[in-house]
């Protein structure tokens, strides 16, 4: 693929991948390259990188078919940990919120809620739903990205984990606006997911309590 991929430049170093922008098949693309992590054992490292690359490719294809806005996948090479995706022009939702465009943010969050609802309805959980994993385009559409931690699952618990993670990301990164923004998200989620949404949100609240200092647990194991 080296030949057909032109002029790439580093655009981001994410948590697990380096992202390059380039041209491929006459399109603006990003090359997502899951890097080797020198802190972990080779066996584990290889296993995780291949697994996640394959998973991300599968999830993107599934979501595209279901009408969730995600960057189209153009090429995948699991052993090298490489994905080539269409480049989506825009800003991260996180930065949109930080810039103070609250109306645009709310609209974006509404979309995120809607897409999360749709994903959940077709048995996919995102696994890392945060405002850093949403791109808002210049015409205020939202694209979901980063599916390396996604999972095919119909379990309420897994869907609720998505909601929990997203809620906490609003709390930690966007404290001032968290209540308002959460409403924007949940409106979209409830509209799409219908009756089951309330139950999922209730389980999300329960999950929130678990990791926090639960002293009984320590004692019980004794």
């Amino acid at each position: 693929m080296g030949e057909s991929l032109k002029n790439h430049s580093l655009i981001a170093v994410g948590a697990e991948a380096a992202l390059y922008k380039g041209r491929f098949l006459n399109l603006d693309v990003v090359i997502k390259y899951r890097l080797r992590k020198p802190y972990r054992l080779n066996d584990l490292d290889l296993q995780l990188r291949i697994q996640r690359t394959i998973l991300e490719a599968k999830v993107i294809r599934t979501l595209m078919r279901a009408g969730v806005k995600v960057p189209p996948l153009l090429y995948v090479h699991p052993e090298e940990g490489i994905l080539v995706l269409k480049y989506i022009k825009g800003s991260l939702l996180r930065d949109v919120v930080h810039s103070g465009s609250i109306d645009v943010s709310c609209k974006g969050l509404n979309y995120v809620g809607k897409y999360a609802g749709r994903m959940h309805s077709i048995g996919v959980v995102h696994g890392d739903l945060t405002t850093s994993n949403v791109i808002i385009t210049p015409d205020n559409m939202a694209y979901l990205i980063d599916f390396g931690l996604s999972k095919f699952s119909n379990r309420i618990e897994d869907m609720a984990t998505d909601i929990h993670l997203f809620t906490r990301s609003l709390e930690s990164a966007h404290y001032k606006w968290k209540d308002f923004l959460l409403k924007c998200f949940l409106r979209g989620y409830f509209n799409e997911k219908g009756d089951e949404a309330a139950k999922i949100v209730a389980v999300a609240k329960e999950i929130r309590m678990r990791g926090r200092y639960v002293e009984e647990r320590r004692v019980k194991k004794a």
């Binding site: 948590a15 066996d43 584990l44 945060t130 850093s132 990301s169 930690s172 990791g211 200092y213």
Partner: protein
């Protein structure tokens, strides 16, 4: 200004005396409750604290030649922690403050772990990874408080290591020559067991599945040492990964490791490698101050007291589940 701090949230009754001028730390007395068997028994621990606590306070004062009247404020851990244990420290601190007519300063135990780490590292605005027997959290300062960016969805990392060691018959004692029993065993492992689950969900880790699967593998006849090695590799890599996610997400340039599990050399090495790759500064609190102690309470009490945070003794209730992100942090600003 001198502040006396009392810690009694779990297994250690600690008394610290700190000043706002050099030398900062003038007394550090610790009485550690060691369970006769199994994990910590809160009632037993509190009995131990009742008999040892007053002695510890006396030792700290007499050892440093400070009279109770010279102490400007008394600080105490009011939570989170085990009720019976917290109650002993709180009762003693209330008594001292009332008797000597000095202000009483409420301290959150998790905040104290972070503040002693910030003090020792000199970091201004780090991403903090707090790993202990009861806590597994990734936090950072954001608008007036420490916010939780990631945590465990079930059991804490220290609890995971301790429980695994105990159930495998490797402990107690849990720590031998500064090394956890699981690590002593892991160092002799050779084979990575592919079937043990690695679970990271967004910014969170989960260890209960790994615990169950590891014990199952032992039962099935896998080599103990391989189970230890794989479990350690997975558990540590997962927390390093979520910390890295936290760094990517927050853009912080300093990484601070606090809490008892920070004593693990293997874990520090992993964090150090990750931080170096990302061009982030790294500091791990030395074992002495990473575990529970009174100095960190006194030190945090000093910061809080200087910002006018005091509580009337009769209102100094303990809070077993006092969450980190409920505490205002007026002394940090940027």
């Amino acid at each position: 200004m001198i502040v006396l701090g009392i810690e009694s949230s779990a297994h250690t009754f600690g008394v610290g005396l700190v000043r706002d001028e050099s030398p900062h730390i003038i007394a550090d007395v610790r009485k550690k409750y060691v369970p006769s068997r199994g994990g910590i028994h809160p009632k037993e621990a509190s009995q131990f604290f009742i008999s040892e606590g007053p002695k510890a306070i006396k030792e700290a004062l007499e050892g440093s030649g400070v009279s109770p009247m010279e102490v400007d404020a008394y600080a105490v851990t009011l939570g989170p922690g085990l009720g019976p244990c917290l109650r002993v420290g709180a009762t003693l601190a209330r008594g001292l403050a009332a008797y000597f007519e000095k202000p009483l300063v409420p301290v959150n135990h998790a905040v104290a772990h972070i503040e002693i780490g910030r003090y020792l590292s000199g970091f201004k605005d780090p991403l903090v990874v707090y790993l202990s027997g009861g806590n597994t959290m990734i936090v950072a300062y954001e608008e007036g408080r420490y916010r939780v960016f990631g945590e465990t969805l079930d059991i804490a990392l220290g609890n995971f290591l301790d429980t695994l060691a105990r159930e495998m018959g490797l402990a107690p004692p849990y720590i031998v020559n500064g090394k956890h029993a699981i690590e002593v065993c892991a160092d002799k492992g050779v084979k990575f067991l592919k079937e043990l689950p690695y679970v990271v969900k967004g910014q969170d880790v989960s260890y209960s599945g790994l615990l169950t699967a590891s014990l199952k593998a032992v039962k099935r006849g896998a080599r103990k040492e391989d189970v230890c090695m794989t479990a350690r590799e997975i558990a540590f890599s997962a927390i390093v990964e979520v910390a890295e996610r936290g760094l990517a997400h927050t853009g912080k340039k300093e990484l601070l490791l606090v809490g008892g599990v920070a004593a693990s050399q293997t874990l520090r090495d992993k964090f150090r490698v990750m931080a170096a790759e990302r061009g982030v500064e790294f500091y791990a609190v030395p074992p002495k101050y990473a575990v529970d102690n009174g100095v960190m309470i006194a030190f945090t009490g000093l910061l809080a007291f200087k910002h006018g945070i005091v509580v009337p003794p009769e209102k100094a209730y303990i809070r077993q589940r006092w969450r980190l992100d409920e505490v205002d942090i007026p002394w940090v600003s940027h």
